[in-house]
Amino acid sequence: MTELFTTTRRGAIGLALGAAAAFGLAGPAAAEVSFEGKTIEWIIPFSAGGGSDTWARFNAPLLSKYLPGEPTVVVVNEPGGGSTKGSNLFAARAKPDGLTILGTSGSTQFPYLLGDPRVRYDYADWEIAMASPTGGVVYTSPSTGVTNPDEIAKLAGQKLIYASQGATSLDLVPLLGFKLMGLDVQHVFGFKGRGDGRLAFERGETNIDYQTSSAYIKNVEPLVEAGTAVPLFSWGALDADGNLVRDPTFPDLPHFGEAYEMVTGKAPEGPEYDAYFAFFTAGFPAQKMVFLPKGTPQEIVDAYQAAFEAMKADPVYQDNKESVLGTYEQVTGPAADTLFQKGTTITPELRKQVVDTLAADYGVKLGEGD
């Protein structure tokens, strides 16, 4: 009964109902990958209803349709520990048979990059199947005297207030970015999400904020039209070689590098910029990624990449991608590899530098581990 040990959820029930015979014919696949009759578990280390969950539930049926053998793909939520729990589980348990995949987010990358003691996974072990970028736009209040993106230099020396979800959350990117620009920003922590932060901005409690692209378009552009918000810059996107370019969704807005130059008069460089860049990549261009476990055979990785490519032509994908993904395309192959590399590697010196900054300026301790 080896069959019992290779099937999962649906298979097990099928067996219990005596329908095993239907699956038993599949036999050992020699060359071609086929997931016929199998169930693939897509681990999402977040609770149901969040951004990552919505993203996975959007992709799951399409993945099922385009993977060879049309397996069932179920999304399994394993929340906890700021997404470290589910990722640890995947690292410890998943077998390299293509039947368990993991969907990560910036919140999974950040603790890894920061050396959080709860992290027991190593991105370098895994095979990337797909990366799903996102972007965001920073805006300010007209009370700062700034009326258009070109006047960003006026912010220098002003007292700015930002509503943050916490120094180790995705809001680490604006924290490092503003600091790099030399802006005097007071980060008020404890906000539940970017939506909460936007509300504080609308209430006039803060005067600088950012929103991810789709939230910016829907909720901040009306404010811009009403004259109560002024866009400053987008975080930017990465081209195929990993260079920072303008966000295709906001071609008229400068990206972070350009804005940096407008404030400081020189192009960004140096170790502090490198540290910022690693977290920026992990938080935006490589925000969501799909991984296969350590040691997964190349043909299975290829099958996944092909499925993620093929689904892009599907009418369901076409009709719904904008509401789920914004205006960004999910990428595979070399483009995904670049994002994977840039978004999950950081030198020990840079890590120490960021961790020390957080500890010195914001009293952040990452636990007993360091």
């Binding site: 019992l4 040990f5 999962t8 959820r9 097990a12 029930i13 609770s47 149901a48 209803g49 969040g50 969950d53 919505t54 539930r57 959007f58 049926p61 179920v74 999304v75 399994v76 939520n77 394993e78 929340p79 906890g80 520990g81 700021g82 729990k85 709860r118 207030i161 916490g166 120094a167 180790t168 007071q186 008020v188 922590f189 404890g190 539940k192 999400g193 939506g195 909460d196 936007r198 509300l199 504080a200 609308e202 209430r203 409690e205 803060t206 789709s214 829907k218 909720n219 009306p222 369901v316 009709d319 719904n320 509401s323 789920v324 914001y362 009293g363 952040v364 301790k365 636990g367 007993e368």
Partner: protein, 659 residues
């Protein structure tokens, strides 16, 4: 304007829309009846079907589901004393005693008609309110939200029980448990004691089940009876409707509260039911029956929690900020069907907003109608011998508990909180006070810190702050005047509680030790990270000390004394088994889970319990175990979840579901 209203109305009454809504309502009813599975689970089930659906039908389905959950979760709150979801915790307080008196049908019908009414009142308020809601919601800054958290905490005054120091100490315990995990200002992890589970704090569902459900089950397990001790079962259906009608103004006020509190993002819906309950007590002339089966204690929270869902729609639709967990999933669903929340919902998309609001009212009518019809037959559950019901309830509670993080640690936490709940019940410590403290701790701390950062101490003289501050003082005044005692008999019986003085003092000392632990932990952290738990622990030590003085020096009839084992209504009746029977069975299940994983442990538990405790025949045992195993398996399959695993699973690679 009239055009918009009419368009919204017409789409609402199409056959297709109604059919999909009925589908959503049905799923919501089934999900809501099972404790621990709230809107989040239900919406996750429906979301995959949303693709390609026509937006209005899809919305109808989603709303149908969201609307009925605070209605149907009343079943388990009233019939079994298990809070069906965080919105039904206060209902347990009077609903379950009513069921124990054989008035389950009365309590249920009062609850459902209140839910229905609350949902409709909520929709009526929203119809007008939605147009002016944006600026109003924006008036609530961090400072006002902090004051609202204080207002919520003022309900402790009314729920503090017979001994005020006890109540305040219990509230302090709740505030401290609520502050476990990351500090809002610095992200430091407090009171985690090197346990990874505590990094995220203890989930609300565990606190709710541990404090309310476990003590009741443990109590019932000791007697060989049914839940309903009277035999007027199923009667009083009409009486429940009359209970509601004679308290209609209370119902209207609570609906209004519910709607407003739901509409303010940040406060969360978990305290709405307690605020409504507290309000009912504060405004009642005769409060002697509260906590012992007063129908007003059912009408108030049930009116509020359905209206709250409507209110919570506002920040979700207007700002894209989910007011509650189920609203987060609802938001996800809206995005999937192409409706982006934002200012346009009161502009060009106003007709969508109205069809959402009225769908909510309609769904409430459908849901409450079905529940009302089911109330009588389902209330017969309380006539089943409890030994047969108990394993099902224990399995259900554990299933609900591990929805939190799907980990064995959830069950361990449930057991630990359950033990605290059992002892609190025994020694007359008010459990609602702890729960309110727990729920409001993060809000109070976060908003206080943010208000200070944004406004400095000047936040104290903002007009909104002053108004809510005055409301809080009034609430405390009425609360202290009408304090409710849910701990049991009063009068002569109490005197004898003095007999177990030593053990009561021991429990008091244990509480003070907990405060000491919190103080020690606070001393390890930075100022911003420790100031809140430090302050609470100091207050806790203070009231703990006062209580200990009362217990040490107090006269025999001092209200601080209480021991349910001496004054409880079970005392003197035959067949009471060991006090620790209930916790022992639950502990056995948790221990077995740590060995062989939850699914196998549950099956073994069922067989062992039915054979050893219930002394059931083998036939009954096999049939019941098989039904339960199949039911839990079906649920887990639909929700695609893995059961908590034990040693066996770490040693061997097993197939689902015993993986």
């Amino acid at each position: 304007m009239m055009d918009t209203l009419l368009t919204a109305l017409v789409t609402l009454f199409t056959f297709q829309h109604m059919a999909y809504m009925l589908l959503g309502v049905s799923v919501g009813l089934i999900i809501g009846v099972i404790p621990g599975l709230g809107g989040i689970a239900g919406l996750s089930l429906l979301v995959p079907f949303l693709y390609g659906m026509e937006p209005v039908s899809a919305l109808g389905m989603l709303i149908g589901l969201v609307a009925v959950i605070p209605t149907s979760d009343t079943f388990s709150s009233v019939l079994m004393g298990i809070p069906g979801s965080s919105a039904s915790q206060a209902t347990v307080l009077d609903g379950f005693p009513m069921a124990k008196q054989g008035q389950a049908a009365r309590a249920l019908s009062a609850a459902f008609i209140s839910s229905l009414f609350g949902g409709i009142v909520g929709a009526i308020i929203l119809t007008g309110f939605v147009l002016i809601a944006r600026p109003l919601i924006l008036m609530f800054g961090s400072a006002e939200l902090f004051m609202l958290a204080l207002f919520g905490l003022s309900m402790v005054a009314v729920l503090a029980g017979r001994s005020l120091p006890k109540g305040l100490a219990a509230c302090a315990v709740g505030l401290l448990i609520g502050s476990i995990g990351a500090a809002p200002a610095t992200g430091e992890f407090r009171m985690i004691f090197n346990s990874e589970y505590l990094y995220d704090g203890i989930p609300l569902v565990i606190i709710g089940l541990g404090l309310f459900a476990i003590p009741e089950i443990s109590d019932l397990l000791r007697k060989n009876s049914t839940i309903a001790e009277g035999n007027v079962l199923g009667s009083g259906w009409l009486l429940g409707l009359r209970d509601w009608w004679s308290n209609i103004f209370l119902s209207i006020r609570c609906s209004g509260f519910g709607c407003m509190i739901g509409a303010i993002p940040g406060l969360g819906g978990s305290v709405v039911d307690w605020i409504a309950y507290g309000h009912a007590v504060q405004t009642a002339k005769d409060t002697s029956q509260f906590g012992k089966g007063d129908p007003r204690g059912v009408v108030a929270p049930e009116s509020a929690n359905n209206a709250m869902q409507g209110g919570a729609l506002l920040p979700t639709m207007l700002f894209g900020i989910p007011g509650s967990g189920s609203m987060a999933v609802f938001l996800g669903g809206m995005v999937l069907i192409g409706i982006e929340p934002g200012p346009s919902m009161v502009g060009p998309d106003l007709n969508v907003t109205y069809s959402i609001i009225w769908s909510l009212a309609l769904a409430n009518i459908m849901g409450a109608g079905i529940c009302l019809a089911l109330a009588r037959p389902i209330s017969r559950l309380t006539a089943i011998p409890f030994q047969l019901l108990a394993p099902c309830m224990i399995a259900l509670i554990c299933f609900a508990a591990f929805q939190a993080t799907r980990d064995l640690a959830d069950l361990v936490a449930l057991l630990a909180v359950g033990l605290v709940g059992i002892l609190m019940k025994r020694f007359g410590w008010p459990r609602p006070a702890l729960l309110i403290g727990f729920v409001l701790a993060p809000q109070a701390e976060t908003f206080f810190y943010q208000a200070l950062q944004f406004n400095g101490w000047g936040f104290l003289i903002r007009p909104g702050v002053l108004i809510i501050g005055a409301m809080t003082l009034i609430s405390i005044y009425f609360g202290l005047k009408n304090r409710v005692d849910d701990t049991g008999p009063t009068g002569d019986a109490v005197v004898t509680s003095h007999a177990s003085r030593d053990i009561q003092i021991a429990f008091g000392i244990a509480t003070v030790v907990f405060f000491g632990l919190a103080l020690w932990d606070a001393s390890q952290h930075s100022f911003l990270g420790s100031v809140f738990p430090l302050g609470v622990a100091v207050v806790g030590v203070l009231f703990g000390a006062i209580l200990l003085i009362h217990l040490w020096h107090g006269h025999e009839d001092h209200p601080a004394f209480f021991d349910y084992e001496i004054v409880g209504d079970h005392v003197g009746s035959e067949g009471n088994s060991w006090f620790w029977t209930g916790p022992a069975w639950i502990a056995a299940l948790v221990a077995a889970t740590s060995l062989v994983g939850f699914y196998i442990a549950m099956i073994v538990f069922f067989i062992a319990f039915l054979q050893l405790r219930a002394k059931a025949s083998w036939r009954t045992t096999v049939v019941m175990t098989a039904c339960a195993a199949g039911f839990i398996l079906g649920l887990a399959y639909m929700l695609s979840l893995n059961f908590p695993s034990g040693w066996l699973q770490s040693a061997y690679d097993l197939p689902w579901p015993i993986r």
